[in-house]
């Protein structure tokens, strides 16, 4: 596989996205271009450069471990696509 190609079907599965055949083709071509472009970063020598995860780094931000009110069960379920008995409903996971 050339450096600018991307196995869209495989990566989409990793990301839990079902795509149409049309989307696979279009995204493959479009993302191929983008990946070709971002390879530009290989021009730079980054030896010895530390990565930046956050531009304004704050570390070990702590708060008091106190019980505080959160969403009620009813509020937490209000936007659920399916709920019963105070729980989210899902297809069966284990037979």
């Amino acid at each position: 596989m050339a450096a600018t190609e991307i196995d869209v079907k495989y990566v989409a599965h990793l990301a839990r996205l079902s795509l149409t055949a049309e989307e696979e083709r279009t995204f493959g071509a479009q993302l191929g271009q983008v990946i070709h472009y971002i390879a530009k970063l290989s021009e730079l020598d980054v030896t010895g450069i530390e990565p930046t995860a956050h531009a304004v780094p704050l570390v070990n931000v702590l708060r008091a471990d106190e019980v505080r009110p959160g969403l009620s069960n009813e509020e937490a379920l209000r936007n659920a696509p399916a709920a019963a008995n105070g729980l989210f409903m899902m297809p069966k996971i284990v037979e």
């Binding site: 479009q30 472009y37 970063l41 980054v46 990565p51 930046t52 531009a55 304004v56 704050l58």
Partner: protein, 496 residues
């Protein structure tokens, strides 16, 4: 023309009881009835709730509450559809959230309400803030009030268009790679992206967590400063929010810019820059010099790597953040025989093309074998970009650039070419990577090209971007205010 008062003029009249909060809110609703069929800045608005809030503000005013106590008392302010307002819909411009209703207020909304604002409306945006034109909204595009054949910019295109068209007195947007500054420039209003950590993001739906910030959009610099003063400051519910106390931005506006040293980065004045944008920038620089600023050329040598670095980091973070939209706990669901198929079908049906592309790209750059080559390298390049700015700020107090290489482009012009759309972000992206602050202030108009489908003789707004040191919002607001006080660009209103 109540709807075109500035926020400062409105609060003065509210304070003198010459106008009521209900009249101000009604003026926005009337204006919306008139222009929304063409502009579509709003996804929805709850008029009865807005008028009830306005009535409450009128009762407070009648009881003697002043704007010194509540700086936004009775002021209608609209919110981008990515920020939670209790009891109101939240869709992020997407289908995937279905009929989601926010169970709580974002901190910024809580602060607006505490300051007396009438918080209303869900402003249109590119889906999950991914885009530069507001064409990626599942609710249809927003049009530019200055030329309906053009995009308003994005992703906060609804916010910019609503402010420019007089549908609200200020708005909140969010900016991950330019999403406040670029639409502000394209619609002729003021937009400010605060320093990373300046404004709490509790209640902001995350796109790229190391880059996202909420910021104000308004018709004047002074109005943006007032709103910023209300929403900024530490919040224990956002662990990335900075502990530094927020200064009084509105009080810091005056004083002028005599002796201020401004840098003009040479890397921003090369190929691809529209001559109309270049000439407006040059005029603005001359004006700033006339006001007493010293302008010197500087270098930000890693500018050309910003887009590549951004589209790796932002998409990687997005692929992780958007994993939560799986049809289980909230939003729309497409059923499947097992959980995996339920996730895949829900996400396949619920997300639009640009969101899918970015999730796929983000998952790809994080995947085994590519992590070091893409994500880790992009984070190292981010260090170099940040260093460029910190070095520049040793020589200058602020940096002036165009916010975008062109004026607003046409609807559809870049919609099918993601790479061209990404390249249009070249001048705004570095600011987010470096975590500094920046704003766009109106600095002129470009005559629309006569060819094509544009409105004959349309005037397209142009912006001046001013970038400042981390937590240097007061300085860039002061520079922009001095510039704005000496120009009249912001006094023009669109023909819509």
């Amino acid at each position: 023309m109540l709807h075109y008062l500035t926020l400062a003029e409105l609060t003065a009249r509210l304070g003198r009881r010459e106008v009521s909060a209900r009249q101000a809110m009604q003026a926005c609703l009337d204006r919306m009835s008139k222009v929304e069929p063409r502009i579509h800045a709003f996804i929805s608005a709850d008029a009865p709730d807005a008028l009830a809030q306005a009535d409450a503000a009128d009762r407070a005013l009648a009881a003697g509450v002043t704007h010194a106590q509540q700086p936004l008392l009775g002021v209608p302010i609209a919110v981008k559809d990515v920020i939670a307002v209790r009891g109101q819909p939240l869709n992020c411009g997407s289908k995937i959230l279905g009929r989601f209703v926010s169970p709580y207020d974002a901190t910024v909304v809580e602060r607006l309400k505490a300051a007396g604002a009438v918080v209303f409306g869900r402003l249109n945006m590119d889906e999950f803030a991914m885009g530069s034109s507001t064409e990626n909204s599942a609710f249809g595009p927003t049009r530019n009030p200055w030329d309906l054949s053009r995009i308003p910019g994005g992703s906060s295109g609804g916010s910019a268009a609503a402010v420019a068209a007089g549908e609200c007195f200020a708005a909140l947007g969010s900016d991950t790679g330019g999403s406040i500054r670029q639409p502000a420039a394209f619609c002729g209003c003021v937009g400010l992206k605060p320093t990373y950590g300046r404004v709490s993001r509790y209640g902001l739906v995350a796109y790229a967590s190391s880059l996202d910030q909420i910021g104000p959009m308004a018709r004047t610099v002074a109005d943006a400063a007032t709103v910023l003063g209300v929403i900024s400051g530490h919040d224990s519910r956002d662990s990335t929010s900075a502990p530094e106390p927020a200064p009084d931005y509105a009080a810091a506006l005056d004083g002028g810019i005599r002796g201020l040293k401004l840098g003009l980065p040479k890397e921003y004045l090369v190929g691809g820059l529209d001559p109309r944008v270049k000439s407006a920038l040059e005029s603005a620089v001359r004006q700033l010099e006339a006001l007493g600023a010293e302008v010197v050329e500087i270098s930000l040598p890693h500018t050309e790597y910003a887009i590549a670095s951004y589209y790796i980091i932002a998409t990687a973070e997005a692929s992780a953040n958007l994993a939560r939209f799986d049809g289980v706990r909230y939003g729309a669901r497409v059923e499947g025989p097992d959980p995996i198929q339920l996730y895949c079908r829900t996400r396949g049906a619920g997300f639009g093309s640009e969101v899918k592309r970015r999730i796929i790209l983000g998952a790809y750059v994080l995947s085994s074998g590519y992590y070091d080559a893409y994500y880790l390298r992009a984070q190292k390049v981010r260090t170099l970009i940040r260093r460029d700015f910190l070095n520049a700020f040793q020589q200058v107090d602020a940096i002036v650039t165009p916010p975008a290489p062109t004026p607003a482009f046409r609807v559809g012009e870049k919609a099918d070419d993601p790479m061209q759309m990404y390249l249009s972000d070249i001048f705004t992206i570095s600011c987010n990577l470096a975590g500094i602050c920046g704003l766009s202030v109106p600095c002129g108009f470009a005559a629309a090209e006569p060819a094509g489908a544009g409105q004959a003789g349309a005037q397209l707004p142009l912006g001046l971007q001013i970038l400042g040191r981390p937590f240097g919002e007061a300085a860039i607001l002061r520079a922009a205010h001095a510039y704005q006080q000496s120009t009249a660009w912001h006094k023009q209103t669109p023909p819509c």
